[in-house]
Symmetry: C2
Subunit: 217 residues, 2 copies
């Protein structure tokens, strides 16, 4: 019923959580699951779960709950992770290399297929797993490679001072979604979606709750 435009952003975020939890239930051979069960596993109210899922369609069966494999398929389709998405990565530093080896991306339908860096000492080096190595390419080849392989998502893990420039290049290379690890607010064209992960900020949040105002210590 809901037509994609009125869906609250928090609901979209939780959709990923539902998928993961559904997969866990599926692995345990649950055939159906109720909004209550799903909610308890994720610390959400049952009403929240129902309302969220209802934004995307009518998946539930009154008196029964949600059929697990069916809902998994639906959610994957909605999120576009029913097919594998090719991803490029820019910045072969510590974090970049860790992300290339990160299994979690592959598990959820993302494959890093190209790596770029502008450090001459890194270009040409193979990184990643031995069985499927990735050769680091110079940044100026990004547009060419992205277009040829039709890559539309990119991971950005270069130093903060380079991030804005690289984001611009990514846009010009046809990248439409950027996962940004640099601690800056990227200015990009409106058709490009940016999702930022700021590692230090998360620690600062913890610090606030531990050391901030209202603490006895």
């Amino acid at each position: 019923m809901a037509k994609a435009e009125n869906i609250p952003t928090p609901a979209v975020k939780r959709l990923s959580l539902y998928l993961r939890q559904l997969e866990t239930f599926d692995a345990k051979d649950y055939k159906t699951v109720s909004s209550k069960q799903l909610g308890e596993a994720l610390s959400l109210s049952d009403a929240q779960v129902r309302k969220d899922l209802a934004y995307f369609g009518q998946f539930g069966h009154p008196g029964v709950g949600y059929r697990v494999p069916e809902l998994i398929q639906q959610v994957r389709r909605i999120m576009g992770t029913d097919k594998i998405s090719k991803v490029l990565l820019v910045g072969a530093g510590n974090l970049g290399r860790a992300l290339i080896s990160f299994r979690g991306f592959t598990k959820r339908g993302f494959e890093i297929v190209a790596v770029f860096d502008n450090n001459p000492e890194k270009i040409g080096i193979d990184i990643g797993s031995v069985d499927r190595p990735l050769r680091i390419k110079p940044l100026d080849r990004m547009a060419e490679v992205a277009r040829k392989s039709n890559i539309r998502m990119g991971v950005l893990c270069v130093p903060a001072q380079d991030a804005q420039a690289v984001a611009k290049s990514m846009g010009e290379a046809g990248i439409r979604g950027i996962l940004n690890f640099a601690p800056v607010r990227l200015q990009v064209d409106p058709q490009i979606t940016v999702s930022s992960v700021d590692l230090a900020i998360h620690l600062e949040q913890l610090s606030f709750f531990l050391n901030g105002p209202g603490q006895s210590a």
Copy 2:
């Protein structure tokens, strides 16, 4: 005026952003900055900036703006990052090792002082920078080390299936804030604060906006 309890969570998150932006202005030798300037740099409204800062105290000077160095100090104090916080890390996999080498933590007042893993092949190995190596210790020594060094924050980057058990151990070791990279909802005692970073979910978010409903392609 506001007494720490009524502060909206989003405002606390933005406080980190303000600090970072203020430091940028400070590096450019700005003496004062207005809520408008701060807001523009972070894509926030000026009213938002003023309201957020006002939750934590009266820092502004009417007709002038905010004095940059003064506000930096205040915000650091509020967040508890005016002093260096010791942090331990559990899980010396790819991500863990990348985080240990990550400069961003140090820059913002966090120092990783101990690393734990339960893989016998890793225990005893030195990782991190050559000048200040960290020797990987077995998990069962965590409580001892944490108490001796008075460590209250921890980074958790073990595989999903081990995360809950390790989180429990961290609680028992006196850790009060956990930065969790495992894709699970951790169940912890209420006095423990958890902040989770789920890398795959961020990519899924991008996928939704790129490949999800309402896309022409």
